[in-house]
Symmetry: C2
């Protein structure tokens, strides 16, 4: 069976991204919107999909969707694959919305110390990034509202964990006592030195419940410029996330995600003596294409 | 000079508490309101004080005020005393609003790793609690929106630090993704077992950015009852605070504060094998009375 045109979709909590990919792998067009699953009412998923990507769906076109669209609050629940899980496991457990034509990629679950953890969408990015880099073993981070740290051994995800770093930053930035001290959102440019100072202070190990208060006192004592506070706070929360990963100087980490955030993580990881390789969000398209290839050759 | 009647006031960020104390130390009356300094406009402090406690201020009455009323956003700024600081230091640096009659107690500042920390009001509670318990050396915690951990050596505060535990709990409870899973505020009773489970999970050391997510996944996998989630989350954040204190089994900690929260801290500390002595918010009145005594005998 020859390769088919692929509509690759990453349907997340707050955003919807899609790519039209030619049989030879060329990305012909991309479209993104704010129609994440939280903005879509039960029963409206087919209509939102149709209005977003319907014109891409010609006869013979395949559509693969990763992300929260496969959650209980999404289009159709795709049960989690339990870790350790390889690329073949997710490719073999697609949830077909329209058989042979449109499928949702399952997420992964795992359990540690009696506590479950889950991901949806990141598994596709991970396998896409491994393919781009030609790796079978890797430690990866996918920064975001809920960052994921992933360990891959022999091309299988053996371990992962979720970190509420981006969300905590937003909470502290917008709703905490620090919000009174910090400048309005997005009014301040990224300040490298302040970010680094925040990372360094977190790495010392005080714990975020304590270190976060330093954004207030440093400002109160005029030791840091107000404009630099958002970068400092960002450094504090990212530094806290890194501190907990027990990384060692000389380790290598793959950072998967949008450029601005990936650069921050790479900067912070450098402070730990950890080297990085970065893969942007195109990793999703690579992952979905790889799944499509398994179907085409089946 | 004989002892005077004392109007003791704890004027915090979000609340105002006062006590009328007879020369023999008997608390004759207490009044509390929500007129914390955030609710009082610049210039309105005298009027709010007058309407709250004016009828207590007879000729010869002394009034001592601790807390955020002495901050830059308060009634009158009372410059911080630098640590190490003893009871005599704060008693000697009162900021008189009306000389000989009404004074604000200064807070304390200290510096560690180049980062300042501050307290206002807790210093008075600490010295009051030490007096109640007859201690010259102690490790104390004053739980709250911003918890304080305080080390007292030879009746001097040598070290303290601020922990945004109560605030983080409220942020996660009200504004995070967990808010969607948790029952409405105050609809759930304290659940001892769930609280203990949260404390234990945090003490294992994953880090709050990660452990907080467990409130979501345990609920998603129906491993914990929705009604128990607030207590579990409370255990997570308090457990994280305790984990960072490097306490050892056999240590002793003085818990100063309102009964409900003090009981939670005592319960969590027991899980670490740490013994506790609890002193309620009357510690403030004891501390202010002790300052008044130094003036009466001066």
């Amino acid at each position: 069976m020859s390769a088919r045109t692929l509509v690759a979709v990453d349907w997340g909590t707050s955003s919807l991204r899609g790519a039209l990919i030619a049989p030879d792998g060329e990305v012909l067009e991309e479209r993104a919107s704010a129609r994440g699953i939280l903005s879509v009412a039960v029963g409206e998923f087919p209509a939102v999909f149709e209005s977003s990507y319907g014109d891409w769906m010609r006869p013979g076109t395949l559509c693969l969707i990763s992300g929260m669209a496969g959650s209980r609050q999404g289009w159709r629940e795709a049960p989690y694959c339990a870790c350790p899980a390889g690329f073949g496991d997710i490719a073999a457990h697609l949830e077909w919305v329209e058989p042979g034509r449109t499928a949702i990629v399952p997420g992964l679950s795992m359990e540690q110390d009696g506590v479950p953890d889950v991901m949806r969408g990141e598994e596709t990015q991970v396998f896409g990034a491994l393919q781009v880099l030609g790796l079978n073993h890797a430690r990866l981070v996918l920064p975001g509202t809920h960052s994921k740290w992933v360990t891959v051994t022999n091309h299988r995800i053996t371990d992962f964990s979720t970190w509420m770093t981006g969300e905590l930053y937003a909470l502290l930035r917008q709703h905490s006592i620090l919000a009174r001290t910090l400048p309005p959102a997005d009014s301040a440019d990224h300040n490298d030195a302040a970010f680094e100072q925040g990372v360094a202070y977190s790495l010392r190990g005080g714990g975020l419940l304590h270190t976060a208060f330093s954004a207030r006192t440093l400002s109160l004592f005029k030791r840091i410029a107000t404009d630099a506070l958002p970068s400092y706070l960002s450094g504090l929360v990212i530094g806290e996330e890194l501190k907990c990963q027990r990384l060692e100087s000389g380790d290598s980490v793959v950072v998967v995600g949008a450029e601005a955030l990936a650069k921050k993580y790479a900067q912070a990881l450098r402070q730990l003596g950890v080297s990085t390789q970065c893969v942007d969000n195109q990793a999703t398209w690579h992952g979905l294409r790889a799944i499509a290839d398994t179907l085409n050759t089946a």
